[in-house]
């Protein structure tokens, strides 16, 4: 503050040096925005430019051809991703929402703080570590790689995000709404499920979609849990192809044909993710708590 007080306030004119610094700061901030937006534009541009040409019916309906051969597709990888994500959601969504309910409705105490802290810590654990743990828990005990192991890894990554957003959304529901229900003699669990959670539904869904979008593109935790597969697989106990794994494998392969497929797969993956983020954006911009008003 000292340097501010020493300036002469009487003079209406701001010194040249201060004006230059001010303009420089503005230019620097604008420059930063431009530099950050450049790679974003470049990534999306390349995805569309390189990917769109390789997306055709075969890509969406066929399984991969042997390396070096033309044609083939990623249908089994897309289906495999869906399978793994469904498994992850079946485990992760109820547990995450349950933990969120606990924090919002029962967890205004020390233990709640511990859980909140744990969730934030878990959010920062590198995904590759989660892969190691899922490997130890599921793959080693089953004796082979499987879709379920990948599902467990992704579920572990979904839970903290869902927990924290669910809590946040439930806390937005006015206490008066709960009191109204209690006042009518509705029991606490019924109030929580049918009134509070119901009111916050769109917000909770937002959290779930964000968690889904976050894990949909995860590759590292799948490397040594689902492993990948060149063929169709619908059994949760068997190794399964997954879209991110296939993109990774094709990106580092020496064949041009596979590079093209990698771009096409990446385009499909990003469309999936951006669509869910945009859906979230749309829902939240229409108000989290439509039911409350």
């Amino acid at each position: 503050m000292a340097e501010l007080l020493s300036t002469e306030f009487e003079t209406a004119k701001i010194s040249l040096w201060r004006r230059i610094t001010d303009s420089f700061a503005t230019v620097a901030a604008v420059g930063a925005v431009v530099i950050v937006l450049l790679p974003l534009a470049a990534i999306f541009g390349y995805l569309v430019y390189k990917g769109i040409g390789s997306i055709n019916l075969a890509f969406l309906t066929q399984i991969p051809k042997p390396p070096g051969e033309e044609g083939g597709g990623m249908a089994n990888a897309i289906a495999g991703s869906m399978l793994i994500l469904a498994l992850a959601s079946v485990v992760g969504v109820p547990v995450g929402i349950g933990a969120g309910i606990y924090l919002a409705e029962y967890g205004r105490n020390r233990f709640g703080d511990v859980i909140r802290f744990t969730a934030d810590v878990l959010n920062g654990v590198p995904s590759i570590i989660v892969g190691i743990v899922a490997y130890g828990l599921v793959v080693l005990s089953q004796g082979h790689f499987s879709a379920i192991a990948g599902g467990v890894a992704l579920a572990i990554m979904m839970i903290p995000t869902i927990t924290r957003t669910t809590e946040e959304m439930l806390l937005l529901v006015p206490t008066a709404v709960r009191e109204a229900a209690y006042g009518l003699g509705v029991s606490r669990w019924r109030t929580t499920l049918s009134i509070t959670l119901r009111t916050a539904t769109s917000g909770v869904i937002t959290g779930v979609m964000l968690a889904f979008a976050r894990v949909a593109g995860e590759t590292a935790p799948l490397l040594f849990t689902t492993l990948g597969n060149q063929y169709w697989n619908w059994k949760i106990g068997q190794p399964t192809a997954a879209l991110p794994l296939q993109i990774f494998a094709y990106a580092i392969s020496p064949y041009d044909e596979e590079h093209k497929q990698a771009w096409a797969g990446a385009l499909i993956l990003i469309v999936l993710i951006v669509a869910s983020v945009a859906a979230v954006r749309y829902v939240t911009s229409r108000g989290m708590l439509k039911g409350a008003n």
Partner: protein, 343 residues
């Protein structure tokens, strides 16, 4: 029906509403409740929710248990020497993790050097300079960067960033900054520099969104007060906003560091994956996360696997410490206790 039920209980009109904390659900079943087992149901429900919350603790417990038990063999075989030995030789069962530690630290620092000014710049522009109509779209677009999966960053880096570095940037650096001896050797494109740049692109949204959050938490009067003293806009931002939010900004930076340390796929795809320590940024390297990603499913012996898990354990401990530190720093700002502004 409703009125009758309420009337029967002597409901006379509006009652004073007690404080929210004191409100408790009815302990006696009223005529409207499903009489009978609501008390049992309540207990069951809260127990189930408690179990869900407990599962978070259980997961962290499991992670620690798995990492510690599975890395024990390596720890017994190599001890602390594991982290200072630079010889990674799976064939002869000799494992030293120093090249990975080095690669992780250097690539992350490089990423921070690039990303911190950019992230703060973006946050300053969005919160303090941008016209209102541009604010929302800009915030959304930068958040979009955070939604792109790591493997897509890697794909883009292999086919776009790496050739660019190889053809233009690296020869340029070697020619004009060669005297620092940090740009020696052939410009492969793939290497430490590519890893640092792709990491920087990935952590800019984290740094800028946290910085934005803590800058928004600075009270508006703070800005008005500094402007009223006759400052320019930049002076207002520097002394009125950035200085008040600096603990939180530091938290955002450390959070970005945490992400950079643990980032796997994009780095694995461009860093070159060679366990060597080189002063040159153009040389290939290897990180802790990458070595796990590349070698875990191929690890043939128990010691090999155990050594990889130990690398994972070290990475886990470091990221946990970094994240806790960041969390605490961000909380000091957003929880309404701003850092003192007299530094």
């Amino acid at each position: 029906m409703l009125n009758q039920a309420l009337g029967a209980h002597g409901f006379t009109g509006p009652q004073p509403v007690p404080k929210p904390e004191l409100i408790q659900p009815p302990t006696q079943a009223s005529p409207l409740a499903h009489v009978g087992n609501s008390d049992v149901a309540d207990r069951l429900f809260s127990a189930a929710m408690f179990a869900c919350a407990l599962s978070l603790l259980a997961i962290v417990g499991l992670i620690i248990y798995e990492l510690v038990t599975k890395s024990a063999a390596s720890w017994h075989a190599f001890g602390f020497h594991f982290f200072v030995d630079s010889n990674w030789d799976p064939v002869n069962e000799q494992f030293g993790a120093l090249p990975f530690v080095y690669g992780t630290i250097v690539s992350s620092i490089l990423a921070l050097i690039i990303a911190v000014p950019l992230g703060i710049g973006v946050a300053v522009f969005i919160t303090e300079m941008s016209p209102a109509w541009l604010r929302g779209p800009l915030a959304f677009t930068t958040e979009l960067l955070a939604a792109i999966p790591s493997v897509i960053y890697g794909l883009w880096a292999i086919f776009v960033l790496v050739p660019l570095l190889r053809e233009y940037v690296e020869p340029f650096c070697a020619r004009y900054f060669g005297w620092t001896r940090m740009f020696e050797g052939p410009p492969y494109g793939i290497g430490m520099m590519a890893a640092g740049i792709i990491l920087a692109i990935m952590i800019v949204p984290i740094i800028s969104s946290i910085t934005r959050e803590v800058m928004t938490a600075v009270p508006q009067q703070q800005r008005e007060a500094v402007l009223a003293l006759g400052s320019t806009r930049w002076e207002m931002i520097r002394t009125g906003v950035l200085r008040n939010a600096r603990a939180g900004i530091l938290g955002g930076i450390i959070l970005g560091l945490g992400r950079a340390l643990g980032e796997t796929m994009a780095v694995t795809m461009v860093i070159g994956n060679r366990p060597e320590i080189s002063r040159s940024l153009l040389a290939p390297g290897y990180t802790m996360a990458s070595v796990i990603a590349n070698e875990f499913s191929e690890a043939t012996s128990d010691t090999y696997l155990s050594a990889l898990v130990e690398v994972g354990l070290a990475l886990f401990i470091v990221t946990i410490i970094v994240n806790i530190l960041a969390q605490l720093l961000v909380w000091t700002v957003t929880r309404g206790t701003p850092a003192r502004a007299n530094g």
